[in-house]
């Protein structure tokens, strides 16, 4: 193999590695992801912080719980769409009940997943490096740079600055319980073929929206550190 061929192979390898890294989300995603890196690995007590792969049981539960929540929220929005359009397209009680059931089932799964996640997180020591980074992080500038919602961001900051990552999970879990309760009360009204009360629908939408933004801010911060 001559020198130029070696050079070509090396260049190709670097190119493919760059493509691979660009296409693989080193670190995920939407709802509270990345916070698994704030814990030591439950298996061998090693630090996960800065790892390039999705690496811990905690991250897997975060992804699973987030997935169920997002499915539920998508159904909640479809449900809201049917209510919004009822004067234009009419109202199919059977269809809307199916959408609502899907929202409830996904929310129940999200809640159970988060319950297990909290148990595991409580039994797992924090990674000191991650905690120290979270304490010294410049939250104010970060919030200003991305024009984030200050009310929600301050809440996230309060947990993370105090090194209480698990507190975030508990906060999200409590929101899931609240959303599930609201969805069940809508189901009760619908099962009587009655239009659900508007204020309950508004409450569900606002709680789900808040939870999404809350979880996403956690991901944004872990992504930044």
């Amino acid at each position: 193999m001559n020198k130029s061929t070696k050079k070509f192979i090396l260049k190709s390898l670097i190119f493919f590695m760059a493509i691979f890294l660009l296409n693989n989300q080193i670190y995920s995603y939407v709802l509270a992801n990345g916070s698994g890196q704030g814990y030591e690995d439950p298996g061998d007590g090693k630090s996960n912080f800065g790892s390039t792969k999705d690496n811990s049981i905690i991250d897997t539960y975060i992804e699973k719980g987030g997935g169920y929540f997002l499915n539920s929220f998508s159904s909640i929005l479809s449900f809201s769409n049917r209510i919004e359009m009822k004067n234009i397209e009419g109202f199919d009680f059977e269809e809307i009940q199916m959408i609502l059931d899907s929202a409830i089932n996904n929310m129940i799964s999200a809640k159970s997943t988060y319950y297990i996640l909290i148990q595991i997180a409580q039994d797992t020591p924090y990674d000191p490096e991650a905690i120290s980074k979270l304490r010294s992080f410049d939250y104010q500038s970060f919030m200003n740079n991305y024009s984030l919602n200050s009310e929600i961001f301050k809440e996230v900051e309060w947990y993370l600055k105090n090194g209480n990552i698990t507190g975030n999970f508990i906060r999200i879990y409590n929101s899931f319980i609240k959303i599930e309760g609201l969805l069940l009360s809508i189901k009760d009204e619908l099962s009587l073929n009655k239009m659900p009360s508007l204020s309950t629908i508004w409450d569900v939408n606002e709680e789900a929206t808040r939870t999404l933004v809350f979880g996403q801010y956690i991901t944004r911060i872990f992504n930044a550190i």
């Binding site: 989300q25 995920s28 939407v30 709802l31 499915n71 209510i83 919004e84 944004r220």
Partner: protein
Amino acid sequence: MIKNKKKLIFKAVVFIMVIFLMNTEVFSVICANGAGGGYEDPGGGKSNFGSTKENSIIESYIEEGGGYFLNAFSNIISISNRVEMENINGIDYDELNKVVDNALDNIRNAKYTYSILIQTALYTPYDLAVISKLKLFDYQAFMTEYSLNKGLLLLIKNEVSLNKMPALPRIWEVNEEASNNLTFGQYITRVFYALQKNR
């Protein structure tokens, strides 16, 4: 006896009316609804405020635009779900492309409906009774705020159509913008709903 019967019939009618009003959404629903009550009726120049029926062309456009927006937001959340579950379920790019296309179609329809709504609203006088109640409410600013940034979705579409995972910051931005819009629109509905109830 006859007096008692009349009383009973009167009570029954009142009862049925109450039930009817409780079950009819006098005033809807989720995204900025009820704001149509802030305008005079384009037909007869009459006030719509406090009407017990869905009352103006403006209100219909708000409903239609809100419906499209909610569908788009639901699609956007589905995209986020696919991205979130990528490690567990893998990614089906064909399916993801369809979801992104749906989101774009719905957001385009929402924007188109809102552009007609804005034109209609610009040529319709405000209902002074409502405006005096709202005082500082700036509807035009709301219209501007409300439109979702289609450009972000187009960037996501460009990436997905190349079978590439969309960049996370774009997903976050779309989610946050849609969340802001939903909350903003819903607060308007809440305000108009409260005005209506206190009338």
